[in-house]
């Protein structure tokens, strides 16, 4: 492994640590003063029974939106630096770019894809809530749409990204 590659791996690990750390911050803030129903076995039953409980999906959408947003931004910061190698040290750029083809990186890219897709479609959902004055039920309908799109396009994209590994 070259120096540039090693530095990239370290930086990527740093990004992942920051993202996981942010996840912990979110979870502990939610546990302390989140205001939502506790996750428990009884919750599944209550979700089926009462529409008021199902409003909780909007809350989880908010958490997922914030988490995916932070994750993508954290990666973006690294990405700008590694692309800048193209201008300042093209040799190093190509060395680092070899890593992008590695299986572990491909898996990471699939995760990134899912994060980008959810954040995008949920963001569009928020715009729709603003423009069409949507209440809880309609917004949950859009959330289902956003999740379905995320899963379908995410799986499709992941299949393309991972295909060379199995070729």
């Amino acid at each position: 492994m070259t120096l540039a590659q090693a530095l990239f791996v370290v930086a990527l690990a740093g990004v992942l640590v920051a993202v996981v750390g942010f996840g912990f911050v979110m979870v502990s803030a939610a546990a302390r003063s989140g205001g939502g129903s506790y996750l428990s076995t009884g919750l599944l039953r209550r979700l089926q029974r009462s529409p008021e409980e199902r409003a909780e999906f909007n809350r989880w959408a908010f958490y997922a939106h914030r988490f995916t947003g932070f994750a993508v931004f954290a990666f973006l910061c690294l990405h700008i630096v590694d692309i800048s190698l193209y201008t300042f040290a093209p040799g190093a750029f190509d060395e680092v770019h070899v890593l992008y083809g590695w299986t572990s990186m491909r898996i990471f890219e699939c995760g990134l894809l899912f994060a980008i897709l959810f954040h995008t479609f949920n963001g569009l959902r928020i715009l729709a809530i603003d423009f069409a004055d949507l209440g809880s039920r309609a917004s949950r309908g859009l959330l289902t749409g956003a999740v379905v799109l995320t899963v379908l396009l995410g799986l499709g994209g992941s299949a393309v990204i991972m295909a060379p590994v199995f070729a």
Binding site: E52, E56, D130
Partner: protein, 235 residues
Amino acid sequence: MTEPSSKKIRVTVSRSDPGTERTFLVERIEPMMVLDLLIAIQREHDPSIGFRYSCRVAMCGTCTLRMDGRAILACQTPLEPDRDKVRLDPLAGLPVVRDLVVDMKPFFEEWARVKPYLEPVEGLDEPARIRPDSPERQIIDPSLDCITCGACYSSCGIADHKRDFLGPAALNRAMLLIADSRDAAGAERLDAVTASDGVDRCHYIYGCSAVCPKGLDPAAAIRRLRRWRLEGRPR
């Protein structure tokens, strides 16, 4: 008529003093409200348990607490017949005084910030009426019955005594007063709710509207305020 049943329910209550009992096995009656449960604990298990209630008919907004995390009025929330355990906590986002009792002062400070009462326009007819079929009334009426119970504030997740956010109740009250043609403070109120502690700290969680025991819709009120910010007040 309530009947004693041999069924018991396991109750876990948030207690301030770590030396006090947290879990109780309480004999059910049918039907049983959460408030009945608390009174049963106080009478038969631990008289030191702290909780508030007053009217018992969802009018005063005193008995609000969280059941399995969800903000409810204890006096009007029944325990399902097949439920065998429940967890009770004080409202979220407010300082805990003891056990299930919270300090509502931060909630009412936010409430006060939007001037939650009518400031009459000069020269109104007496009595100053708004017709029941007017568009104004369609906006105001569904939002009027707030009992300041704090359920929405707890369910919000952003509203918190440590954060600067007016919160759903204050924003809902501001909205209906801004819509009121007899009110003179509309412009200043709209400024107050579109400031840094206003509508933009709402993150579309819908927790407020989901838990309001009076069926109010603070989320819709906040969406309306955002529209008025862009389009101007209704006048």
